[in-house]
Symmetry: none
Subunit: 131 residues, 4 copies
DNA sequence: GTGGTCTAGACCACA
DNA sequence: GTGGTCTAGACCACA
């Protein structure tokens, strides 16, 4: 089942938030491949946002091969594997950007490794205590 | 000595690029605390951009306590320690955002750790070969 | 409802006047939290000033956490409590500056207290007669 | 004796800082009426600032009747009583501005009185403990 | 010379 | 429609 939530206060564009939601639901296996997605109008009405915004998200997802639409019937989720791969490639790219920024800041690879380790450990501890 | 370079084609706003340059030069210790910065007009002329854009960058840096400017006298670099701390705190925050995104994507902490390790190793190899 | 008035002849920068107006309207409870603010263009048109000037005011208010703006959607008032606190802390700070100046001028704490009392009484009398 | 100190980091214009110093030294009785003031060049050299800045301060003080200059001989301090009065009138004016701001912020006269009392008490306690 | 304010106006992404 | 970025250029106080 698709249930989207968006954060109206966030600076992240609504259409990006929507795309991310689809991606994540699929990657987590919470929705199955070929499952029908809610219509643009449906989503827009549910979230109280502009249909154009939803359409933009769907369009981009389709262009990226993550969903497909059948004229007259609606939009359907693509293979969920592709979502997982797509998300992972996004994550990789973002981490690479982060590494480059660390290096530009004058940190040595070793210092960066240490920083990563430290932040991860702190985060992981917090995460596990949440559960 | 200050020497700024910007990428006019980048999607990163010019004023953000400028801020980053100041931050990095200071964090790397390439400029000293209380050193006078080139004037708004000077930087604008050197880079062929509008003085307002430079002023915006300087203004934000000042607000963040990283430089200080005295009307009629010029702008001066703040304590370089604060720059290093500021940059590191930015890096930490960005990495935390990345970790959260990984978790939202359905990756387990362990999978995230693996991904980090993998991306880092690849990057590090490439970095060392560059030199 | 927001209705701004500015004094073009005042030495106080327009953007500072605007910031103060928002702050005061909010602190007085004349506008509610999360209420949408008039757009940058709207305010600029109403007051006959440049949109950039309005944007500068909004920008600073946002930085100070008193309003928030979402690109493409508009600007919204933050929690009105924070405005009241912010204004009061500003008033406190200014009064402290005044006290320090009085002391630097060679007045004893007692002389300062007397001066405050005197000025306040005169002012208060005038105020009440206005109504 | 005149010994000026200025804060190069302050946003208060240097010439205003200078004027304030003269005023305060005189009001406190640390310099006597008709005492000769150090020359513009002297002050500028001592403080490492531009002579124009010192001249501007002296000019304004003279215009306001607080010092007088004898062509060919130099500048001299005016009656110290006038300095005390001038300073006090400045303080009054500033406090009135503060009161007006408090009122504009929506505080009742009573609330303002309370705020004054509170800030004063805190300040006074701190002051007396300093000694 | 320096930074600070403001105008007029263009172009962008987003809703 | 909205805010965000940027340019070109004027005028100010201050040093």
């Amino acid at each position: 089942m698709f249930s989207f939530t968006i954060d109206q206060h966030s600076r992240v564009p609504l259409f990006v938030q929507l795309k991310e939601q689809v991606l994540i639901l699929a990657a987590r296996g919470l929705v199955a491949a070929d499952e029908q997605m809610p219509s643009v109008r449906q989503v827009a009405a549910d979230l109280g946002i502009n249909p154009n915004t939803v359409q933009k998200a769907y369009h981009e997802l389709e262009r990226e091969g993550l969903i497909y639409s059948v004229p007259g019937r609606g939009s359907f989720l693509g293979a969920t594997d592709s979502h997982r791969q797509y998300l992972e490639s996004l994550l990789r790219k973002k981490l690479l950007t982060w590494l480059a920024e660390g290096a530009r800041s004058g940190l040595s690879p070793e210092a960066i490794r240490k920083l990563m380790h430290e932040v991860y450990t702190d985060w992981q501890k917090k995460e596990s205590s949440h559960e």
